[in-house]
Symmetry: C2
Subunit: 249 residues, 2 copies
DNA sequence: CAGTGGTCTAGACCACGGT
DNA sequence: CCGTGGTCTAGACCACTGC
């Protein structure tokens, strides 16, 4: 048999395995917002009959998406679009402990916002044209009222217009849920590059440290489900708070 | 049906799914050296009939092992025990470029070797008793004859006795293949913790840098297929050569 | 209780590698 | 050419969730 495997009209490569075509079609349906993060998708029985494949083949496609972190399964309840938790990912690099000792999310304060033309690095990372504008945020993240991270954030104005008029004190501790609510922009994945830099005077003042001391710098490009870049972010934190654990094979 | 699923006499938890029992039994057979790294394991047909499960169930167990990096499959050839390449993993953290520009493995030189009693941190990491001795190596890794990494390595003497008598210039650039050849010790996985430190005088001299400047420190505990710790390693490199990229979801 | 995902079967045919 | 893993089917029964 050789039937098309698209429920969304999205063009698929017929030479690919069926489970791969299913995977791609499901990604497309998530990327276009047919199922939003947190929602259940149709049952395995419904999907396999709609796509005219066996349950085993459908399972393989869903297995792939679960492995990629796009879906989660819950026996007896259903399969859900996962809501990524990338915003809090700095916790992976820095051990923030509150005065009580247990790990807590730092609070955030937006210090500055402007609409400008980005430099080459940001423009390329966000795949913008020469004339496209960005919203730039300067943001400080604090633990027990002490500054621990300094962030610069660039957002394409075309996608994030509602943020250009938002009062600075209405920006929340976690921005990504706010992106989703106010701008319908969902961050699905991100690529981060770590390096060690030295604090210049301005950064040292922000982080209440000496200029010239080492800081960990994280350069992040965040992407939506369709793989399009959504946000460029530059974060710096004191190197003495840095600790990262990794398992390798 | 309810048949036992062990081809190795290894005790298995019958309440677990069959594919999980298969997975555990296969891990055990690899851990005991029944199939060595690089070797091909029996075909799917042979294994599924030996274990009295369907090919689908066996495939799921093998899929797990492939995802864990223990096995690799090659269509038309067979399924192989993967030879882990952990020794070269520092390439993930430091961008070593030779004078020609392309990335190259640094060379290595063992500066010192002694048999001693380890401190608490090493003893706990290697799960040794109070009276157990270790072989300690001090090692420098060089790129174009320039030192880039300084390493301290601790090995349980009981497992690595042949290295206690090896001439220092006979230690090779990559130690793990040598562990396997001379001591029958295979490193399968490792856990690494990164942090930023300051170079003390001795380290600064080794790495030809100024004391007090930042270095990236990597603490590694390496494990065999059975999950037993095999090696403790402490590596330091100049922070300005550090760059690490990570994809998050 | 009904409905969900989780596990498992006993095959089939295909694509690739090496002879 | 044969043997390998790769894909796929059309079911079955189980374990868990929530009404």
């Amino acid at each position: 048999m050789n039937r098309p495997v698209s429920a969304s009209g999205y063009p698929l490569d017929e030479r690919l395995p069926r489970y791969q075509q299913l995977h791609d079609d499901l990604v497309h349906r998530i990327a276009t917002g047919e199922w939003l993060p947190g929602e259940v998708i149709p049952t395995e029985a419904q999907l396999s009959s709609a796509y005219e494949v066996s349950t085993g083949t459908l399972r393989k496609a869903v297995d792939l998406l679960v492995a990629e972190g796009v879906l989660t399964r819950s026996q007896g309840r259903g399969t859900f679009v996962r809501r990524p938790q990338i915003d809090a990912s700095m916790l992976r690099f820095f051990r923030f402990k509150s005065s009580s000792g247990d790990p807590v999310l730092p609070t955030a304060r937006v210090l500055k916002r402007e609409v400008t033309t980005p430099d080459d690095e940001v423009r390329q990372a966000l795949q913008l044209g020469r004339s496209d504008k960005v919203i730039r945020l300067s943001r400080l993240r604090l633990m027990d009222a002490l500054p621990v991270l300094a962030e610069e954030i660039w957002l394409p104005r075309a996608r994030f217009a509602p943020l250009a008029g938002l009062a600075l004190h209405d920006f929340e501790d976690l921005l990504y849920p706010q992106y989703e609510r106010l701008c319908q922009q969902v961050v699905a994945t991100a690529r981060e590059t770590l390096s060690v830099r030295r604090a210049d005077k301005a950064l040292a003042r922000q982080l209440t440290m000496e200029a010239g001391q080492p800081v960990i710098h994280v350069r992040r490009v965040a992407f939506d489900f369709a793989g399009k870049p959504v946000e460029f972010r530059s974060t710096s934190g004191r190197a003495d708070g840095f600790q990262y654990e990794i398992e390798i094979r």
